[in-house]
Structure formats: C-alpha cells, structure tokens
C-alpha cells in the first residue's frame, strides 16, 4: 500500500525528515513572528537543521569516527568530508548570530522596542 511504503521510508530516513521539519519551523518563524530576537533564534534553528541534514548524509551504520586510529587502521570510517565542512559552517553561523544580536541591542537603544511591527509604525510616522 502507498501509505505503508511512505511510513517505511520515514522510519528508515528519520534524520532527513526531522531536518526538514526543523527547516520549515525556522523559516516560518523567521518570516511571521514579529519579535526580533525570535527571528535571530529562528535563523539559528534553520541553519542547524541544514547542518543536521549534511552530517547525516555521511553517516554509515556501525562505522568508526573519522579520526585516524593508530592501533587498528583498517575498517570502515564514516565520511569525513561533511563533518569537516560543517565545522566551518557552524563558525559562520556563530558570526552571523553575533552580528545580528549586536544590531538588535543597538536597535533597542535607538527605538526603545524590539517588536518589528512597532518599529515599522515608528518609521512610517517619521517619513
């Protein structure tokens, strides 16, 4: 049956499914919620979900972590390329979060509120 096939696919690849759910949660929150700090948190959730998808691509069941084992060098290691890329990606996400939070601190200093709708009203009445 079609439904049984879909449920079996979900049970085998549950990493990908969870990553996609987190991505959509982060994307939707970033667009619709009006609190600026929530937008920054949602940006982090979105980036983390893509990192989760990337790392789980390289996973092999029952293999060793990708560090050179001097005692017993043979055997199956998991794919080291996604892990190495994601370390760089995490640092990039940290930098963007730091910059966004300092911008929010400055906006609070100037406007007195961190609600995006109120800021748009203040800007509209100033023009």
């Amino acid at each position: 049956m079609e439904v049984m096939e879909i449920l079996e696919n979900l049970r085998d690849n549950y990493f990908y499914f969870i990553a996609m759910v987190l991505f959509i949660v982060g994307f939707h929150t970033m667009l619709t919620h009006s609190n600026l700090i929530k937008k920054v948190i949602a940006m982090n959730i979105m980036d983390t979900s893509v990192f989760l998808l990337f790392v789980s691509i390289g996973y092999v069941h029952g293999a060793k972590p990708p560090i050179m084992d001097t005692v017993q060098p043979e055997g199956v290691y998991i794919n080291p390329l996604p892990s190495a890329l994601i370390i760089t990606g995490i640092i990039v996400a940290i930098s963007i979060t730091a910059f966004a939070l300092s911008l929010v601190a400055k906006i609070y200093q100037y406007y007195g509120t961190i609600d995006a709708d109120e800021i748009a009203e203040i800007r509209g009445s100033e023009e």
């Binding site: 667009l31 940006m43 990337f54 691509i57 930098s95 911008l103 400055k106 906006i107």
Partner: protein
Amino acid sequence: MYALEHVLNHLPAILVISLFVFAFIMPLLFIWKRDWCVPVATLSMGLSLAMSLALVIQVNQVGTFVYHMGGWEPPYGIEFRVDYLSAYMLLVLHGIGLLILVYSIGDLKKELADRVIGWYYTLYLLLMGAMSGMALTNDLFNLFVFMEICAIAACAIISIKEDRECLEASFKYLILSAMGTGCYLLSVAMLYMITGYMHMEKVAVALETGAAEYPYNVLVAMSLMVVSFGVKSALFPLHVWLPDAHASAPSPSSAVLSGLVIKIYAVAMVHLIFRAFPRELFEMIPMLEIILWLSTLGIIFGSIFAMVQENFKKMLAYSSIAQIGYVFLGIGLFTPTALVGGLLHILNHAVMKSMLFMVAGIIIYSSGIKRLQHFDGIASRLTWTMVAFTIGGASMVGIPITGGFISKLYLAQGALEVERPFFLLVILVSSLLNAFYYFPISINAFLAEQKREDITFKPVLKSMLVPVLILLALIIFLGLNPQPVTNMLEQAAEMLFE
C-alpha cells in the same frame, strides 16, 4: 626576478589573501598609528588592481587555467578557476573599488563618528576580498563561505553609520540574506546527496545520470538556488530590502552595494548555471523561463516605483532594481549575444550607478539637500557634478555615444535571435520610463531658478570630484570604443556555451 616569477604563478591565491591580510592589519594600525590607515588601504586596493590586470593578461595569453589550493587535486581540494568571465569581473571589482575608496576619504569624515573610521576600511577590504573569492572559486561550499563573509561585511558597512534608519534597514537586509544563505546551503546538501562531489564540473558529470534517478532532488536544488541568488541580488519579488538599505547607508557604501555587491551574485549564478548543471536539464525544468519573466517584471516595476520617489537616493536604489533586471534578462535569454549584453551591462551599470551615488554624496556633503523638489537651480554652484549627473542619466536611458547604449543593443539583438520580440518591446518601454525620471531632474537643476536662499554651499573637495570625473570619462569611452571589453566578453560567452 625570482620572487616576481614566484608571485605570478600563485596570483589567484595571493590576490584574495593580500586583501584579507591588509584587512586584519587595519585594527592594529588603528590602535598604534592612526594616520596610516588610509594610505595602507589605498595601497592594498592598488596592489590588487595591479594583480587583476596581471591575471587578465595571463588569461589572454594562456586561456583558462586552474589553481589548486594546498596542492590537493579535486575532489579532495578546493580549486580556483580563472577564465575570461572571472578575470573580467575581478577587473571591474578592483577598478571601481579603488575609485570608491579614494572618494570615501573625504566623505567619511563628515558622515561617521571618529572612532569607527578605521573599522570602515577593515570592512571594505574584507568585502573586496570576499567578492574576489566568489568570482574565482570553483567549489560549492567555498562559494557559501565567501557569500557569508560578503553578507556580513555588506550589512556592517550600512549599519556603521549608527543612524535610526540605517540600523533597521541593515537588520532587514541581514535577516533576508540569512534566509537566502540557508536555502543555498540546503540546495548544496541536495546536490551532495545525489553526486557526492563539491567541485562544479564533477557535479555536472555525475548529474547526467543522477538527474534521471532522483528528479525531485534536482528540482528542489535548482529552485532553491534561484530563490537564494534572487534574494541576494534583488530579483523582482525578493527586492524589498534594497531601497531602505541602499538609501540610508553612507554614500560610499551605497556606491559599493549598488554597483558591485548585487552584481557578483549574478556572476556566481552564471558560473553555477553553466558549470554545475548539464545542459539538457534546462529543457526539462523551466528555470530560465522563470528568471526571464521575473526579470521583465523587475525592469518594469523598478522604473515605475522610481518615478514616484521624492528622496534622491531612494530613487537611485529603485533604479538599481530595474537595471539588475537587465542582467538577468541577458542570462535568461540564453544565447551568446544576450549573455554578452547582460555581462556588459554589469560593467556599465557599475560605472554609472557608482558615479550617480557619488554625485548624490557630493550634493549632500556640499549643501545637505536630499529631496528632489529642492534641486532647483543648483547647477549654478555645482556645475561639474550636475554635468556628470546628466551624462549618467543619459547613459541609463541608453542614448548613443554613452556606454549604456551598447549593452542594450546586444540585449536587443539577443532577443531577436531567439525570436521573442516581446523583450525588445520591454527594453524600449523601460528606456522610455527611465527618461521620465532622469531628465526632469537635469532640466530642473540647470534651467530653473533657485528658490531657496538659505542653503550654503560648501566647496567640494578635489578627492571627491576626481573619481566622478574619471568615471564620467569611462562612460563616454565605453560608448565610443567598446571593442576591448566586448572582445573579451565574446570569448567568455563562447567558452561558457560550448
């Protein structure tokens, strides 16, 4: 000299790294020797301009060549690939970047607080380094890293002014840019899942068989890539961050953002379309049709929005949305002639729009006028500035003798080649709309009587006027004699299409 030969072999890496090294030396200089910041920044931009000229000469002699980072062959290592399009884009970036840096020396003392002027040059050099890296790289994840550095630096040079409006505009730009980056990373993950490679040509080879087995992954990857590059380079429905961001930034930042930053994402998209996806895929998935229609909407609506603006810099920002539509029109028509037109428009618009933003900065510096209705009769005091504005406006419309005419000619020829004369009509209508909002300003400035007597005009600094005049000469030179540039671009388009 042995050292010179050594440097010439490793030019792609040294170009990008020298900009980053100078960007990191700037904070040290700011603490210990504050007066050296500006000369060292100018020296760094001059060095990188010399290096990009050397790269152009090398590409003309040798053809396309590659550079492996760390000596590791792909797929284990990152590759920098220098072809005609990359060399052309580097020359545009560093030439106009140097002129904007010279302009900013005089302008920044008035617009920014004293303690942040040294940091402005750090961010500027980081931005230039990241854009050079984006033009050169041949690796999907390396493109992501350079895209992020470029996004942070671009948002920071807007918000360094610490005004009420530029903070909000910079935050909006940052959030939308982060959304675009998330989508790009997801599409890279999809491509990696099918092919297992990060190197663009190997991805194309593996996709020839992989696209038939996993059609949904490829569809998701291509659509997310259009969204991501569309957000970052202001394709039509995703352009909402651009007017506020470019209008409220300090004038040199507006010139860099409108002239260079939104173009480099279009060039990165050209690289991806032509290197990373096999050609048969575009007949099954109508990605280019969608880009074509969105760019048309952008051209028409950008001009319509620009006509109703009262603030001078906001009008120029909406005009940027219309002009970047021409570049995407050249990409979407997908023939060599149209692609040459689109890529030539990158150079023309970079020169024109940077000059127009510099003119706006000079007017604000000298008299404080920001609204178009106060422009009556200012040409009697700021003569050369308004002459530059008139020639720039004529080039935007596409009058012959100026550079803008040549790129629109190529685009029109490309539209006729694929037998879609509707886009020729779009180009003509949009030129007419451009004339509606550029010419009244010039007429107002030259011929009307000056109504307001209380404006005092400060004298314009030489260091602010000279870059404007150099760019003015360049527009006229490109209009009369575009042969050197179009030869290089025709070779680039031929090589991309084979």
